[in-house]
């Protein structure tokens, strides 16, 4: 199971005055079971890139291979790709339409051709995984709170049982508690169901805390692709692209430069806490 993007370029509004290069020669390999963060300044092409991964947008140039099969082949089964690569759009709650929560979550699995019983099992499972209680199953999705709607929408994609789950800024507009809940939920799904998760995010703190590989985009190009620790060593380059390093990394680096004996490369709060405790002999 793998997804390979081979030299993908994409132009919006080709041959008009609105022509914009959204992607330039992107090469990526997404193997099984990784937890990947996709970061980049606004307009860098993140949303465009992930829409290529399930075939919603067709590359102007280049090829995409899913498990070795060229997805632009005539007899490639696009529906199968859409099922296996689940895509949660930004503000996914805007896609809810059914009369009840459970029916909305069932929409995906049924489209994908699951039997009624399997579809229902998948839907219940997905709703449970995202933490939507049974009391809400028959509520109208339009009556829920923003955070609950978001969970239902994520469940709608999760219920299709994807092998790769891609989420476009799933925490945008949520409060801090809601953010942490959604992110830990993703981590849990990643660990329990062993699926690949790609998280598009603006927050360095979030990606540092959760992902094991970061892809950095700038101006439609993939400019870095490595583990968080390696990426965050290139602070100057990140800053030049309108990005940065997690706050706690900045704090540690500043303390280090002031002469304190502390590891300047902590990227999560836990690491920094350990370092500081060690420094003061508290462990």
């Amino acid at each position: 199971m793998s997804l390979i993007l081979d030299n993908i370029s994409y132009i919006y509004g080709k041959a008009t005055a609105f022509e914009t290069y959204a992607l330039k020669n992107v090469n990526l390999a997404i193997p099984d079971g990784e937890f990947i963060g996709l970061i980049g300044h606004t307009g860098s092409g993140k949303s465009t890139l992930i829409q290529h991964m399930n075939g919603l947008v067709k590359a102007t140039e280049g090829n995409i291979y899913f498990n070795g099969a060229d997805i632009y082949d005539k007899d490639f089964k696009m529906k199968e790709l859409r099922r296996k690569v689940g895509l949660v759009f930004q503000y996914p709650e805007h896609q809810l339409f059914e009369t009840t929560v459970i029916r909305d979550v069932l929409f995906g699995p049924k489209n994908m051709g699951m039997e009624q019983l399997d579809a229902e099992l998948a839907a219940y499972g997905a709703l449970k995984a995202v933490g939507v209680g049974e009391d809400l199953l028959d509520a109208s999705p339009f009556e829920l709170s923003g955070g609950q709607k978001r969970r239902v929408a994520i469940a709608g994609v999760l219920a299709c049982k994807p092998d790769i789950l891609i989420l476009d800024e799933p925490t945008a507009g949520l409060d801090p508690v809601g953010r942490i809940e959604i992110l830990s939920l993703l981590k849990q799904i990643h660990e329990e169901q062993k699926i690949t998760v790609i998280l598009v995010s603006h927050s360095m703190e979030d990606v540092a805390e959760y992902v094991e590989r970061i892809i950095v985009m700038n101006d439609g190009e993939v400019v870095m692709d490595d583990s968080p620790r390696v990426i965050f060593e290139r602070e100057e380059e990140l800053k030049a692209m309108g990005l940065g390093v997690p706050q706690v990394t900045r704090v540690c680096r500043r303390l280090h430069s002031l002469g304190m004996d502390i590891n300047p490369d902590c990227i999560t709060i836990d690491e920094a806490e350990q370092e500081i405790k060690k420094k003061f002999g508290l462990v």
Binding site: K79, P92, Q95, F107, F142, V157
Partner: protein, 263 residues
């Protein structure tokens, strides 16, 4: 893709047509439409065709883009032409089953088709080269005399301006929701008529919800800025005629006169 619908959208370019006063373009479009129905001869269409072609070239609009914008009327066009072709009485050229084709039929189908094409071309050139704001400014000024008989001219033009502004926004929203539902396996392209209509529900419900949400937001934003209708409201950029506008008016009068006197 739904995004390809270009009718009624502004196409930015730096051209003399773009710079013309919107009142000229508005009256010009009306003049073109009127002149289309003033003649019934080959030369008339040649005149109108030449005029429209010249304007497209001067406006620096890519031909492909303009033609793409005509696609939505293709069905209507075919429908109208076939009816005209088969249902006009006159000198019979041939017949098949219950249908007869007449000389007059061919002529009227051809002319009606050309009229519709020029009509849509003319009005889309106007919207391609004029921003919605300018267009409604022009309407407000042109219809200002109607205020005397208590027609809410400003309110009407504000409504039109908002409606025009919302076209691209709603298209973008449609595109987004379609993609989101396709990601959940929705299929908008295959199946029989009933299936396809049913497939629209997951698209239309969120679209309406979002249109109402946006409308509410906009109303609130307008009120927060103390919008209270047209009374006593002044313009940031009042419309002003330039020399080129006078020339354009002369050309338009020429077009109408030509259309009237062409044999």
């Amino acid at each position: 893709m739904i995004r390809d619908i270009t009718i009624g959208q502004y196409y930015p370019a730096d051209s003399i047509i773009h710079r013309l006063d919107p009142r000229v373009k508005f009256t010009g479009t009306l003049a073109l439409i009127v002149s289309l129905f003033l003649f019934d001869s080959f030369y008339g269409f040649l005149l109108c065709g030449g005029f429209v072609a010249a304007v497209i070239i001067m406006a620096k609009l890519p031909l492909k883009y303009v033609l793409k914008g005509m696609r939505p009327i293709l069905f209507l066009l075919l429908f109208m032409m076939i009816f005209n072709l088969l249902l006009t009485p006159g000198e019979v050229l041939g017949s098949w089953w219950i249908f007869t084709v007449t000389k007059e039929g061919i002529r009227s189908a051809l002319f009606m088709g050309l009229r519709l094409i020029f009509l849509v071309l003319g009005s889309s050139i106007m919207t391609y080269t004029t921003t919605p704001n300018k267009l409604t400014d022009a309407m407000e000024r042109i219809f200002a005399p109607l205020k005397l008989i208590k027609v809410p001219v400003h309110e009407f033009s504000m409504m039109i301006s908002i409606a025009l502004r919302f076209i691209p926004i709603l298209l973008e929203e449609t595109d987004k929701i379609m993609k989101a539902q396709q990601a959940r396996g929705a299929d908008f392209e295959n199946g029989n008529v009933f299936k396809r209509i049913k497939a629209l529900i997951p698209l239309l419900v969120p679209l309406f919800v979002s249109a109402f949400r946006r409308a509410g937001d906009l109303a609130e934003a307008m009120e927060a800025r103390c919008y209270h209708g047209g009374k006593g409201r002044t313009k940031l950029k009042p419309l002003k005629y330039a020399f080129r506008d006078a020339i354009a008016y002369i050309v338009l009068v020429g077009l109408i006169v030509g259309a009237v006197f062409i044999p």
